[in-house]
Amino acid sequence: MFQVTIKTDYLRNIVDATSILVDEIKLHFTPDQVYARAVDPAHVGMVDFKLKSEAFEEYDVKEDVDLAVDLDKLKSMLKLPSTEEVISLIYEEEGQLVVHMGNLTRHMSLLDTADMADTKIPSLELSTEIVVKTAEVYKGVKASEAVSDHIALSANPEGFELTAQGDTDTVSLHISKDQLVSLKCKEQVRSLFSLDYFSDMVKSVKSESLKIYLGNDYPVKMLFELAGDHGEVAYLLAPRIESE
């Protein structure tokens, strides 16, 4: 049983960030933070977000509670033409979440948490760490979408590169070390990814810069901040299988 109030924008960010991978999500409310982890139905992408209690306008959670939410329902609330700056979520009755948005109230039935497995996040050994302006990556993704359905991320001690190779055309975006916020890279690394996942993930990044952890033919991890520095979202994306 709890009551929390959050800025509408923050809630929208969370819903956008998770709904690219899943339709339903299990939210864990603890006395000091909310977190959730999920893997998409194809088992290719993962999301792991946490939001500290400081990010909320009001946060009154006494004990751990798990809620399984249909993200489409939250989305439909957030789409309403409303200028309310905050949303309150009240959980008093088993299986039901009450959402207050200004003078609008919705009683939202919840999903059964027992049907949803807890997702664990794998520990990955990723040697290369790149911090890059989100807008730069976004530009590269947009350009790549026009030519291909996959994208290669590569890095060496000199810089970071996005390459999309289509049947006839190729797009590449090279960001040299001095244009990056920071770069930790000892050797050449490269991995190939499905562009539809990667672009969805990049498009839901709300912070100005983005941290990318890269390996060689290995998953990529992307980290960005949410709600100032009170929250964090991590995406994991498995690489494409390249032809032998």
Binding site: P41, A42, H43, F193, P219, R240, I241, E244
Partner: protein, 446 residues
Amino acid sequence: MENWTEKYRPTSLDEIAGNRKALQQLRQWAEQWDRGTPDRRAVILSGTPGVGKTSAAHALARDFGWEVIELNASDTRSGDIIRRIALSGAVNETFTGSGEYVSSRTGGHKLIVLDEADNLYETSGDRGGKRAIVDTISATRQPIVLIVNDYYELVKGGGAPLRTLCRHIQFWEVRSELRSVLQQICESEGVRVHQDVIRHIASQAEGDVRGAINDLQTVCQGRREVGPEAVQSLGYRNREKKIFDGIREILKARDMQTANKVARAIDEPPDFLILWLDENLPVEYQKPADLARAYRFLAAADVFLGRTRRRQHYGLWRYACDLMFGGVAVAKTRAYAGSPRYHFPSYLRKMSDSKSARATRRNLAAKIGRHLHMSGMKATDLLPPLQRLMSADSALAARLVAQTGIAEDELAVILDKPRAQKIMALAQNGPAHGQQPAQQSLFDYR
């Protein structure tokens, strides 16, 4: 109470009853994946419901340590969704639900299971489903299992490329092993069940293991001991009820799509279902104009059924089906209330009642035909004159009987019983009444 079919679902290929050959093929295919991507990247498991196809797919993944992603009938499976989930899963590496990253380079595959792949499209109403499956299999780097009841439904039309892309593994009904499966469940549940009951369930299941286990659970519910009398309480897990319900739905349907969908779900051939419609149309449709319109559709459907039979071209069934289900459903001008009692087709009943009589008649004609060097069918035409001859001349009749070897019940088809008996006696005692006829037999041409 836990469902026994789930509780006793096999966890390894070795635990699956029956279908040894199919399981062997499946295992061989999976072993190929350990040595790189095989030529056939997908298998189609086909077979009737409840024989273990889905269990086999999951057991396979477990045996080989593969992650499973599954699209089953409860999800909406449009072409888009198949692309988003199956195709994405097929070309990318995998995160497991237990929080690991596995790479196909080190043998960490994920098995993509498309259950009920033969009825993807009816629910979604879009035709891109098959296309999406073909694309997925063409591109995949991960093993894929398609599960269908009807292989040909899947590989027709847009599914044709699947014939060469996939390996087809047929699952058969489980017969001989079924009783021991049921026996084992009784033992682990600690219920003593009479052998007759097990035998009855096993024989009635017609190879459907899931159905048999459900039946077993029903009779065992809350009991420690089940005697032979339980057989009666089982009743028929029957096909007939399914047809009755289905026909009712068709006749109540307001549009063609619903009617056709229900008809497909009944899963009986149209030349059989048309009899049910024929019988029950007048029960449901009360307005004569509606009834006339419905029968006109039924007649048109029957024309197509006839053509199907004559040309042995089953593609024509589609037209027959649209006419007899969809057409009949929309022939009514209003929905009729109430649920009148439907009947079993009287044609089938009469045919089954007269089965032995027809067989006797056929045998009689065949025997006569043999002597006349003609088919039994042709000889049937000769039965009326023969009847005249035989009832007019007992001696002649007796000689004929002796020569052709007609039995008494066969003779009774054309003559009345006392007469038939008399002639049989005559035939057995030989021509007792004196004069030897000049001619040995009416049909003696030698």
